[in-house]
Symmetry: C4
Subunit: 211 residues, 4 copies
C-alpha cells in the first residue's frame, strides 16, 4: 500500500485516479444533499394553497441545500486547483485525501440535521454540528495542502512557486473564518449561518480579476 512499492511502473500521471475517485465522492455527496429534503405528501396537504405553504415551510431545507452545495462546490474547485499543482502522490497524501473525503461524505448528514432543526428547539445544537463539521472539513483540506506543499516534495516540477505560495496564502483564511462560524453557533445560530453564506459568497468572488 505504500506508493514506493508501486512506483516502479513509472506512470507520469500518478494523481489521475486519486482525482477521479475524489471527484466521484464529492459529486455523490453534493448530489445526495437533495435526498434529505422531504417531499410534502398528498396526505399532509389538501388544496393548492396548502402545498404552497408546505413548500414554503421547507425553506430551512432549501437554505441547507444551497449553502452546503456551494461550499462543497468550492471545496471541489479548491481540490481541483491544488491537484493541478501536485505532481505525484504518496501514501500519506492518499490517507489525508481519504480523511478529507470522509469529512465531505458526512455533510449530507449535518445538512439534513440543520434543515430538520433550524427555527426549532434543536437549532443551536444543529448549527454547532453543522458549522463545526465545516471547520473540521476545512482543517482536513488545509492539511491535504500543507503536507505536499510544506517541503514541496510532491509539487509538480512545472508548478510556478508563486502560484503555490498564493494558494497557501489564501487557504490560511479558511480555518479562522470557520472557527468564527463555529463560535457564533454557540452564541447566536443565525449569525453563524449568515457567516457561512457570506464566506461562500466571498469565495465566489475571485481574488483577482478572473483572466
Amino acid at each position: 500500500m505504500t506508493d514506493t512499492a508501486a512506483e516502479p511502473t513509472g506512470q507520469d500521471n500518478t494523481t489521475a485516479r486519486l482525482e477521479t475517485f475524489s471527484d466521484g465522492v464529492i459529486a455523490i455527496a453534493i448530489t445526495l444533499l437533495v435526498l434529505e429534503i422531504h417531499i410534502p405528501g398528498r396526505d399532509e396537504v389538501g388544496g393548492s394553497s396548502d402545498l404552497w405553504n408546505a413548500m414554503g415551510d421547507l425553506w430551512p431545507s432549501y437554505l441547507g441545500y444551497l449553502t452546503s452545495f456551494v461550499i462543497i462546490g468550492i471545496l471541489w474547485a479548491n481540490h481541483h486547483n491544488i491537484f493541478r499543482l501536485i505532481g505525484r502522490t504518496d501514501h500519506w497524501l492518499v490517507m489525508l485525501n481519504t480523511v478529507f473525503l470522509l469529512c465531505i461524505g458526512f455533510l449530507p448528514f449535518t445538512t439534513g440535521l440543520l434543515a430538520e432543526h433550524l427555527t426549532h428547539d434543536g437549532e443551536r445544537v444543529a448549527t454547532i454540528v453543522y458549522s463545526g463539521w465545516f471547520l473540521l472539513t476545512a482543517l482536513s483540506f488545509n492539511l491535504l495542502w500543507w503536507y505536499p506543499s510544506r517541503k514541496g516534495h510532491l509539487i509538480a516540477a512545472t508548478a510556478d512557486p508563486a502560484a503555490v505560495a498564493e494558494v497557501t496564502r489564501r487557504f490560511n483564511y479558511g480555518p479562522p473564518a470557520y472557527t468564527l462560524a463555529f463560535v457564533l453557533a454557540w452564541i447566536w445560530p443565525p449569525a453563524s449561518i449568515g457567516l457561512l453564506i457570506l464566506l461562500a459568497l466571498l469565495y465566489v468572488l475571485p481574488s483577482k480579476a478572473a483572466g
Copy 2:
C-alpha cells in the same frame, strides 16, 4: 481559487476535471430519480390484480421519471457539446458550472413532487415548481454557454466559428420554450407537461440529418 493562480502548470486539457465532475453530478442526479418512485408494499396490496392496479396507479411517477431522465440526458449531451468547443476554464466558468449543477441536483426533488401531486389537489403547484425549475436550469445552462462564447475568450482555438454560432443559435430557443411551459402550468398543468415532453422529443430529433 482563481485559475490564474494555478494555470502556470500549463496543462493542455484544463476542462477535463470540470467535465468529469459535472458528468458525475449529472449521472447521479439522473440515477437518483428512481429512488423517488415508491415500491408498492406487500401490506398495501393483496393478490396479483391488486399489484397490477398499484403499479398502474404509479403512472405519474413513470411519467416524471421518463420526462426528467430524457431532459437531463439532453442537458448532459448539450453540456458535453459545449465543452468540446470550450478550450479552457476560468474562475467564473467554474462558478457558473456550479450553479448549473445546483439546478440539476435539485431535479429529483421537483420530479418527486410532480409524481406525488399529479392528478391530485396539488397538481398546479407541483407543475409550476417542476416547469419553473426546468426554466431556471435552462437559463443557467444558457448563461454557462453565453459567458465563454460571448467574446470567445475561452473557446478552443481549434473550434469552428460556424459551429459556435450554430450552438448559440439553437440554445436561443430553450428559455422561451421553458417560459411557455412555466406559464402554461399556471393555466392548465397537463398542457405544461405535454409541452415539456414535446420539447424533449424535438431535441431528440437532430437539427440536421445526423452524419
Copy 3:
C-alpha cells in the same frame, strides 16, 4: 445537439465522455440496489435468534441484489466492449445510449419490487415486470450495437471486422433468451428467475478460453 455541429474541434477520442457518463450511471444504478434491502430494525426483532430469522427472511432481497448486480455488471462489460470497437459518436448513438441508460436506471425499482413480492401474492406480477424490464434493457442494448455496426460507419478504423462480427453474433442470443424468461414469468415465476440466473452464469463463462 447534432455532433456535426461540434465535430470541427477534431478531438480523436470522441466517445470518451459518453463512456464516462455511462460508466457513472451504470455504477450508480448497480450501487443503489443495496438501498432497496430493508435493514431489520431493533423494534422488529428481539434476541439474536430473531435477527438470524429476520436476516434469513430477506433472501429474496439478496437474490434480487445478486441477480441484478451480475446482470448489470455483464451489461457494463458488454457496453465497455462495444465502445472499444466504436470509434466515434453521432446524435443517434447518444440518443440510443440515453435510452439504454434509462432502462438501466430503472432496475433498482424492478429489483426492489421483485424482492418485496417474491414468495407472496404479487410474485407473478413482480416477476413479469422484473424479467420484462430486462428484456427491454437487452433490446435497447442490441439497438445500441446494431446502429453503429449495421453499416459500420461509426466503427473504429482499427477494429478487426472479425471481432465486430463475433460481437454481433453473440448479442443475437440475448433477446430470445430474455423473451423466454419473460414468457416463463407468466407461467411459473420461479422458472423465470432460474433462467435469468442461468443466463448470468452462461455470460460469466467466456465464449472461448480467455486469452
Copy 4:
C-alpha cells in the same frame, strides 16, 4: 464478452475503463454509508439537551461510518495500486472485479445492520455479518490480485517484479486477520470491532517510511 474479441482495436490503456467503473462503484458505496445514519427528528427530541443526547446515542452509527469508510478507502487504495501493476484485462479479470465490486456494494447494508444492533440484543449477529462480509471482501480482493499475478500474464511489462512480490507478500496478511475478526465476533463482538479498527489503523501506517 471475451476480451479476445475486442482486443484487436489495440488500445494501450485497456484497464482504464475498468478502473473508472470500479472507482465509481467504490466512491458511491463509500458515500452511501451516510444515508444509513438516521437524522434525529424534531418529534423525537425536545430541547437542545435532548438533541445532544439523541446525537450521542448515534455513536454506533458514527463508529460504523468511520470504520467502513476507512476500510473501503484502504480497499480503494489497494485496488488503485494493483491496477498500476496490471497492464491489461481479460474476461476473468473483469468477472473477478465484478465479484469484488458486488462485495463492496453490499457494505452499506452490513454497516447499517451493525449500527442498528450494536449494544442491543442483535449485536452478535450484526457483528458476525459485518466482520464476515469484510472477510469475503478481502478474499475476493486477494483473488483479484492472485489471478493476474500468479503467472504474471496480465502484469504490465514495465512493472518491477520486486514491487509485484511486495504487494503479494503484504496481501497475505489480510485474510487471516479478517478471519480472526470473524471468529472473535462469535465469541466477544466488541473485540471483533476493535480488531477491525486496529487493522484499519495498521494499514494507514505505510509498510516502510513513505518516500
